[in-house]
Subunit: 144 residues, 2 copies
Amino acid sequence: MNAVSNRKPDYERLLRKAGVRVTRPRKVIVGILTQSDDHPDALEIFKRAVAIDKTISLSTVYRTMKLLESMGAIHRHAFEGGPSRFEQAGGDHHDHLIDLDTGDVIEFKSDRIEQLQDEIARALGYEIIHHRLELYGRKKKSSG
Amino acid sequence: MNAVSNRKPDYERLLRKAGVRVTRPRKVIVGILTQSDDHPDALEIFKRAVAIDKTISLSTVYRTMKLLESMGAIHRHAFEGGPSRFEQAGGDHHDHLIDLDTGDVIEFKSDRIEQLQDEIARALGYEIIHHRLELYGRKKKSSG
DNA sequence: ATTCATGCAAAGGCTTTGCATGCAA
DNA sequence: TTGCATGCAAAGCCTTTGCATGAAT
């Protein structure tokens, strides 16, 4: 297992570069993303946004997430049995371990697994476009 | 990568053992599962069921899949951007490669990856309850 | 001044559920 | 005969979308 780095994109710059408008709602939303190190869903982002600007709508959150995703600025994860959750792009590729009790997401990375995946796909005559590896588990109580 | 075996459960027996009724709709649905080697979603199962018995409802399909799942007789997979798809349990554990062009699902198994997953979880202080490994890819055109 | 983005409410896709009826045991 | 299972329709959850208004350029 390898370390997972995490550098945050300059969203406003990305928005300008994409030729879209840097509006108040978008500023609020990307501000939230910048300050987040977790994997919030749209509703959670909406709540955080409303705390800053009461006029923001949930639709705009969804639209903005979709926009950022299409720009490659964030990643969308559909973990089991819940709404999509988002995280900032820009860090290394990694996979996720989801704590079944808390919903917490722990990032990890294994070059060895990636390599094995490639081998498998190749053996089956496929080229991997992307993959999803999620471990669902519970914290081991080490002694209390 | 290892071979994936596939033996089918005797659903009616499982139903009886679970103490639930072996009704006409349930017979039709498990009959369809027995004859399937693909990964149909609820609507697809419903269509196949209606071809046999016009009176079956989609609700019953959903209810039956939920029942079978709770009995461990089938597995539910929520592949990207689509409805849940089901497959018979009873074969070896395996993971999935989804053909992005056709939606086809190819099963594979890698003990080595499983082992690495366990190591990762252990290193993070977690016990894996279950996991999900999906490769999304396209067939390599080998020469045309 | 334009045009794009927003808020709102409605709808859409998948799935579950309440209820009265029907069928398995 | 008794109660579980069914069909139907309605609702629920998450997400998208149509439309008129408002704001960024």
